[in-house]
Symmetry: C2
Subunit: 334 residues, 2 copies
DNA sequence: CCGCGCGGTGGGAGCGCTCCCATAGCCTAA
DNA sequence: TTAGGCTATGGGAGCGCTCCCACCGCGCGG
């Protein structure tokens, strides 16, 4: 591989001039710039990022901490972040992290500081004070997605609000016996705003004077989780609700499948509303409250960039809007 | 942030000794090593990766090129790669790449060479000769997953074989009118061994003397894609096959849902077999041919590590086994 | 005519690390 | 006794880049 010294020599200028010609800053005459560019391209010169990074102090890369990759929300989010970073020329360094504390400590104590990352996007993770302190030491601005921390910048939707919208839609249709599906109390499943959604459902029920009907079926926020929870809850003809608010679309779709399996017709006998607007929602004609993880990823990159430019600005909190998408999984009760 | 000079000063030794004490190589007495370690930990010293990388020539990171993130196979693969790299202390730099050639050229010409990555894992991408040449220049060993290139190391399953296994299972059950579902000819959907699977189905049909029944319904390798293709193909009572081989489980599940929608009972009236053993296969009682993307990701990391140690060794080709998993979506035709 | 500002260029220090090489003490074998 | 090897340490060059600063020539205003 050729270095900038080779390029400079070939163009007949100094290293300093070559550097200026290629990476922008300072005075370079147009002909000189052209000469250097030509030389660089003839040698197929590409600057060594470690050298650049060492000299400038910026690493041109952003760390992304993800608790999972195999769920729609996270995959979409990652795609959004990826697209945003691509546009700004930053590389994406991916750190998977199960809630295993040893790994997590290692990540914050060593791995992240080592890289001197230009920024960090933490998904669904509440960094502790000590962890934040480590990051501040290396001056990596942080933006979290979906976490509701006080002192740090964050992007999310209003989870409680989304669940309220979903619940109110059912109430408006005339339902009273509305149950909440999914949203396990188990933190190990990286409850991603799940409690907030449950809380939003409760609020809407209370506000409508339906406190007596409040109940929920635990389950993983996945399709099989929703399926099982639905089958469990709908099994008894007597006690079964007329409508379900699911913690997310995957669970909702599981519930749709489960209801069919039980011979219940959706929406005639059971209304189901989800939260997400998952790519499969259309196929199952699912009424849902849309959130756009890709947009959240892009927004996080935007916020991060602003923080990189102005590290001392006050933390920025961005709440993206939620919108009801009515399809054919909800109807008035008979 | 403190540097190794600070650590050395605090421990009362030279930079050289401090470096040796912390990163292994060379002679250091036990007490000195302890002193240095203590100093490092007191200063919460973490080596600057760019400096290390510049000095050693190794970047401690591996690039991963992914055509998509929102499909089960890719997400699982990425999780496997991630786990493998975590174990070997390498960072994962993620590059998403749609088949837009401008971006792709940029990636191979500039982005990857700039990083001086220790290795590259390319998923479902056939690097061109010129692209490989660029990588060889920067001495990044490459392992591809799912691509069937000649000169490079690769990990994959035997796609044709998997489809043959699926088809033969149906033939063994007594089916004759077996169609193939999905596997669009459209390269834009990153046909991931799809043609090979179609070919495997054909081979099995031919071998069983069922050439007359060979046919397939185009469709995206997704759940909605499989749903649509199935509805299209199963619409006509007269011409409909008694069994389907789906290009992947997502399509197969879509077909299961579509069949139910049409009032066809699976497996009594229609047998369906997929390829993947998707996490939802269990829920839909789907008979399928298992492939394990996580294992493929881990295997790719393994192969890559070997290539990093011995860059001049002959390219290594690893084909992971496929195995039939019989559930309840297949049965003898009536 | 001189001084000054400004466009343009080069020299070289320095980013933080590793690793080669020199040095030094000490123990063992001839 | 002394050469030689072996452990332990330090000095400092060098990885490839950027950027500060010095320098230079030229045009222009006083």
């Amino acid at each position: 591989m050729s270095t900038i010294a080779d390029v400079a020599a070939r163009a007949g200028v100094s290293k300093a001039t070559a550097s200026r010609a290629l990476s922008g800053g300072g005075y370079v005459s147009a002909p000189t710039r052209e000469k250097v560019r030509a030389a660089a391209s003839e040698l197929s010169y590409v600057a060594h990022s470690s050298a650049t990074s060492l000299a400038t102090g910026r690493s041109l890369s952003v760390g992304v901490i993800m608790p999972a990759l195999d769920r729609w929300f996270f995959a979409e989010l990652l795609a959004g972040i990826q697209a945003g970073l691509l546009a700004s020329g930053q590389d994406l360094v991916l750190y998977g992290i199960r809630e295993r504390t040893a790994e997590r400590a290692q990540l914050f104590e060593e791995v992240l500081p080592r890289r001197r990352l230009d920024g960090i996007i933490a998904v669904g993770i509440q960094p502790s004070a000590r962890e934040l302190e480590r990051l501040i030491r290396v001056e990596s601005p942080l933006v979290s997605i979906g976490a509701y921390s006080e002192g740090t910048s964050a992007v999310s939707i209003d989870d409680a609000g989304a669940a309220r919208i979903a619940t109110e839609h059912l109430i408006d249709l005339g339902h009273r016996d509305i149950a909440f599906l999914g949203g396990t109390a188990d933190a190990a499943t990286h409850a991603f705003g799940d409690e907030r959604r449950l809380a939003g459902y409760r609020q809407a029920m209370m506000a409508a004077g339906l406190a007596a009907f409040v109940r929920h079926a635990d389950g993983e926020p996945t399709m099989p989780g929703g399926y099982e929870a639905a089958v469990r809850m709908l099994g008894d003809r007597q006690s079964r609700p007329t409508a379900l608010v699911a913690v997310c679309d995957e669970a909702a779709i599981g519930a749709v499948v489960g209801a069919r399996r039980l011979g219940l017709s959706v929406p005639a006998e059971l209304s189901i509303v989800g939260i997400d607007d998952h790519e499969h929602a259309e196929m199952f004609a699912l009424t849902t409250v849309r959130q756009q993880p890709r947009a959240q990823g892009l927004a996080a990159v935007e916020v991060l960039r602003r923080r990189m430019d102005a590290p001392d600005a006050a933390p920025e909190r961005q709440v993206l809007p939620s919108e009801l998408v009515v399809r054919a999984s909800t109807a008035a009760p008979r």
